[in-house]
Point group: C2
Chain length 328, copies 2
Amino acid sequence: MKKVSIGIDIGGTNTAIGVVDREGKVLVKDSIKTPTHGNISLFIDDITNAVRELVSAVSALNPKIEILGLGIGAPNANYYTGNIEHAPNLSFKGVVPMVKLLEANFPDLKAIAITNDANAAAIGEMIYGGARGMKNFVIYTLGTGVGSGIVVNGDLVYGHDGFAGECGHTYIVPDGRLCGCGGKGHLEAYCSAPGMKRTAFELLAKYNAVNSPLAEKTFLELDSKMIFDAAEKGDMVALEVFELTGKWLGIGLANTVHHTSPEAIFLFGGPTAAGNYIFRPTIESMEHNLLPIFKNKVKVLPSQLKAGDAAIVGASALVYKELDKLLA
Amino acid sequence: MKKVSIGIDIGGTNTAIGVVDREGKVLVKDSIKTPTHGNISLFIDDITNAVRELVSAVSALNPKIEILGLGIGAPNANYYTGNIEHAPNLSFKGVVPMVKLLEANFPDLKAIAITNDANAAAIGEMIYGGARGMKNFVIYTLGTGVGSGIVVNGDLVYGHDGFAGECGHTYIVPDGRLCGCGGKGHLEAYCSAPGMKRTAFELLAKYNAVNSPLAEKTFLELDSKMIFDAAEKGDMVALEVFELTGKWLGIGLANTVHHTSPEAIFLFGGPTAAGNYIFRPTIESMEHNLLPIFKNKVKVLPSQLKAGDAAIVGASALVYKELDKLLA
């Protein structure tokens, strides 16, 4: 029997579903709209149908498939309760018992679990990626926001309430930039893709940089890929954006090291495609801000999850952690 | 049989040793000089003799005593290796295999373990104090420095290298005050007892506060008790010291909540004797800096370990965690 698990990534616009093998390879996948009608039963039906079709498709390719379980990544997902709780970007209001609803439709599956996407990425990295064999590591996911997943003694840190690992909202700059959460000076306001854009606009203003290619873009247009392209052409504004982003991110990573002393910190997401433009200043800043006992010990590594499939793959990895717990 | 454990607290000047019962009560205790001669064998002999005398004394009081093990709190102690590693304030240089050396003298004891004093305080709080029954909590120890111990899923977070939980060296103020570790802007430089003194001196200078009772003290003389006494008399400088200390400490606690989402954070040490002078602004600042999902959830509580015996008691608690692991 070939054992596989199913990963479901619920985003604000789309919900991606895939069947993933033990090596983290997506065998088949599909995407459905995350509905805006707010009717959770209809959405559960849509997911159930899509899962059944994918299972049929993969069973047709290989009749000896065994489905181990379902893992779900979703905003404001609470691992302990199995609920999505008050997710601001989803049409389902209040507390939605996702795991319970899916268990009713898939009674034969032993492991159905949910967590947020950054925690799912951490488990994906541990089961399939660069953190295989590591017991203490952290992942920072850099995108529209900054998420994080923290692993201690081989287990994800969920905390008392199920919501641990919000390092994007640690404090970097006193009374600094407004964060999406309403706070000020948080890491996410500096090191997310929109944070990099904000830095670029501050630098354009600071230097009156009319010759920068970034000066040709509106605030709505500019993205982190354009900043990378400009850096590649030697644009001083773009290069400084990476320096500053790395400086701030390194402070955040040092704060995390002072909490949990991980073996490695993985960086995931669009801005990490810039490679050493972002990794070098990040590592320099982290090392600068570490206690001597931690210096030159903590690896800062690119995630080994493939960008396109990472959310599905991460969610599917939850299943293996659940099965481990059932066996323990 | 009455089961007890032995706690040893190795400080820069003195080493305190006590026999502690399961309720965290110190039955007998002694203190020896932490030697400055750098000869570890002589120090191990001193500890061994003191332990044997205490055991004789306690056995004379109650012949049905069973010694479960030895727990040691020491600077730069590594739980994983059992070593004290490069402790700057001890005369023993390099790597000292404390656990191994004590095991040789106490072959009958099943559990001998070492960690740093803040981690020992966390375990003490869990075994005997206010964190009994809690699986996810944190302790901050405010004294000459700021230490911390983090508990996740009922276990202390030691991290990859054994040195996790150095929240005193997280980053609060960019390019801020010089920290004892050589870094800048760390929590410890603001929220330790000397940090409070530094704040007082800044405020004396800022307001030219010649009428403050604190103006009568030299930088060498002023301590956090004097600041508390002045606050009690309504001194505006002293009152603002507590407001600012709480503001900074609350930022640090919020950063910790965003990492591990604890049920409670305990505060331990001299400055916490000031009660609501320090707790109220700390809690206000923490709440202000928390994501909405964490607001009004995390308790900030005074440690229930008695100040005088806390180091011995905390160290002795290590024994119960070790025995749990042997049984698991």
